[in-house]
């Protein structure tokens, strides 16, 4: 991160005819605190240097001082648009270290919540992306639907945004009785709402002209620069971890992975909207096939007992006390667990030294790598296209800076 007075990036233009323009960290279309140092020739971008770190809070360092179960709430705070993906990825990594078997109901619930989170995140993206381009109405429409998802989460976990609902060994609580009917009712109305957004945007000539042919990223560049998720698929790489390296029971679900070879911002828009429709399908399948059974693994030394058991059984009380005060030891080793989050490959690299606190937690967050492609997308284009390109990679600075 740079002190703005002594900017670390060369702020001298390389030629007489070019000038330096600071975009951000307070620019509204940089979605938080991203600073882009643009070198421009007239209105054409010659060079782009992203400057990040303004939101660095040392989460990786904090993780090393917490018990394994205490890290879950920290993971919420990385990507505040899709907290459950972070919960899930971290829990899967620790469960892999522990070699813990997760009950089927918990797995299906995780898939359901993962897809609801994807919808939530894509709704925020669609609203803000359209707003950046100048279509203000869509923002209100998207946030109307997002509010419904947040209310579902509130109902489920008692929190609207930082749920910490997915825990090591399963889930925090059994969902309330009316949760599934409410999700089903919501999912029933959503496809019409997506049609509504598309009515506003997909045929809109201004929107099309702002997006088509903008922010081009070739297939080779996308792979070389570590781009994942919708931008990778928009560059013609047919790769989705949910299908290709399934986790949490995704192999039991039928869905389509939309791919495009247009490589531009428009393709990323189209793919994400299609992904929302697929997410509705997956969530419906999860609701239809939701198995009965426990939502927590049978591992009393790792998973907190039910409140009822804790109040009535001495052993459960002892386990509860031990987990809360001492944590639980995790066998030494290192694992890297990746999931397909709404932005691409999210990976958690967890190293254990056998104690109750993680020795090292590293988050591989999708937009950190994707941000490196911003220069390829923007050079030679107009400043206004930079805004479209940033929107198309759907950055969340919380997960980039960590």
């Amino acid at each position: 991160m740079g002190n703005l007075m002594t900017a670390p990036i060369a702020v001298d233009s390389t030629e007489d005819r070019t000038m330096i323009l600071n975009m951000g960290p307070q620019h509204p279309s940089t979605h938080g605190v991203l600073r882009l140092v643009l070198e421009i020739d007239g209105e054409v971008v010659v060079r782009v240097s992203p400057d990040i770190g303004f939101l660095h809070t040392g989460i990786e360092k904090t993780c090393e001082a917490k018990f394994y179960q205490q890290v879950v709430p920290l993971t919420d705070r990385l990507d505040y648009c899709s907290p459950m993906h972070n919960n899930l990825c971290y829990c899967l990594a620790v469960e892999k270290l522990l070699q813990l078997e997760i009950p089927e109901r918990a797995q299906w619930m995780r898939v359901l919540l993962s897809e609801l989170t994807r919808l939530n995140s894509h709704l925020i993206w669609l609203g803000t992306h359209a707003m950046d381009i100048g279509a203000l109405t869509v923002f209100l429409y998207c946030f109307r639907e997002r509010e419904q998802i947040l209310r579902l989460f509130d109902d489920l976990a008692g929190q609207r945004m930082m749920m910490s609902y997915i825990r090591i060994g399963g889930l925090a609580l059994e969902p309330p009785l009316d949760f599934f009917p409410r999700v089903r009712a919501f999912l029933k109305t959503l496809p019409e709402k997506i049609d509504e957004y598309e009515n506003l945007l997909t045929g809109n000539p201004i929107f099309i002209n702002r997006l088509k042919g903008v922010g081009l990223l070739s297939r080779e560049d996308a792979i070389a620069l570590g781009v994942t998720g919708p931008p990778l698929r928009a560059s013609g790489v047919d790769w989705d971890l949910r299908r290709d390296m399934p986790y949490s029971g995704y192999e039991k679900f039928q869905f389509r992975v939309p791919v495009s070879t247009d490589c531009d911002v428009w393709a990323r828009y189209v793919l994400r909207v299609q992904e929302m429709r697929e997410a509705v399908k997956i969530a419906n399948q999860a609701l239809d096939g939701m198995p009965e059974g426990p939502i927590k693994a049978n591992a009393p030394k790792i998973v907190l007992p039910d409140r009822e058991a804790m109040k009535t059984q001495m052993e459960a009380l002892i386990h509860h006390f031990k987990i809360v005060t001492e944590g639980f030891g995790v066998p030494a080793g290192e694992v890297y667990q990746a999931i397909e989050s709404s932005r691409g490959e999210m990976g958690y690299y967890v190293v254990s030294d056998g104690t109750a606190k993680p020795y090292r937690v590293h988050m591989r967050n999708p937009t950190f790598a994707t941000l490196q492609a911003i220069e390829k997308m923007c050079v030679g284009r107009l400043i206004a296209d930079v805004v479209a390109a940033i929107g198309s990679i759907d950055i969340v600075l919380g997960e980039i800076d960590r």
Partner: protein, 164 residues
């Protein structure tokens, strides 16, 4: 899945048909210092000077995507730093981890930005937070912390309340 094997020769023999191991033992004998197969994940410890060649070799063998580069500080154990590379193959649906052990006295590794430009930000992050230098990196500056910051926060001996 659950078996753990930390014996180099046993791992290499058991996974001789693994594309990365086959390519490395054939083209770069001596680059693999150690091998570990644990919880379904293969970790190959690569000699520090061979990391670029090893990356090129596995890239040619179909491991086309660099997912992540990060570092672990094993202080006070020597060699202190372990730089971990997570490499993915889209065609084989397989992951691979390279580990490079780096001594505290000379914390430097060759940069692999020439093989995968994606390593750029990751190596800058390690340089910033661990103080490991990457030779040949095009732009090795701090990325998270301010330019004038002292210390490397993710080192284990970093005082969490800052230097006094």
């Amino acid at each position: 899945m659950t078996e753990t094997d930390e014996n180099k020769d046993a791992v290499l023999a058991a996974h001789a048909d693994h594309r990365a191991i086959a390519a490395l033992t054939q083209n770069l004998p001596g680059a693999i210092q150690n091998a570990k197969y644990d919880r379904g994940e293969l970790t190959l410890t690569i000699a520090r000077e061979s990391i670029i060649a090893a990356c090129r070799t596995v890239q040619a063998a179909g491991y086309n995507f660099l997912a992540d580069v990060t570092c672990v500080d094993w202080y006070p154990i020597q060699p202190r730093f372990q730089v971990s590379y997570h490499i993915l193959s889209h065609a084989l649906h397989q992951r691979l981890r390279f580990a490079v052990l780096v001594e505290e006295g000379d914390p430097s590794v060759d940069s692999i930005t020439g093989v995968w430009p994606a390593a750029n930000f990751y190596e800058r992050e390690i340089f910033d937070l661990f103080g490991v230098r990457f030779g040949g990196h095009p732009n090795l500056r701090r990325i998270m912390m301010p330019e004038d910051y002292r210390g490397n926060p993710l080192r284990k001996d970093f005082p969490v309340e800052g230097y006094r």
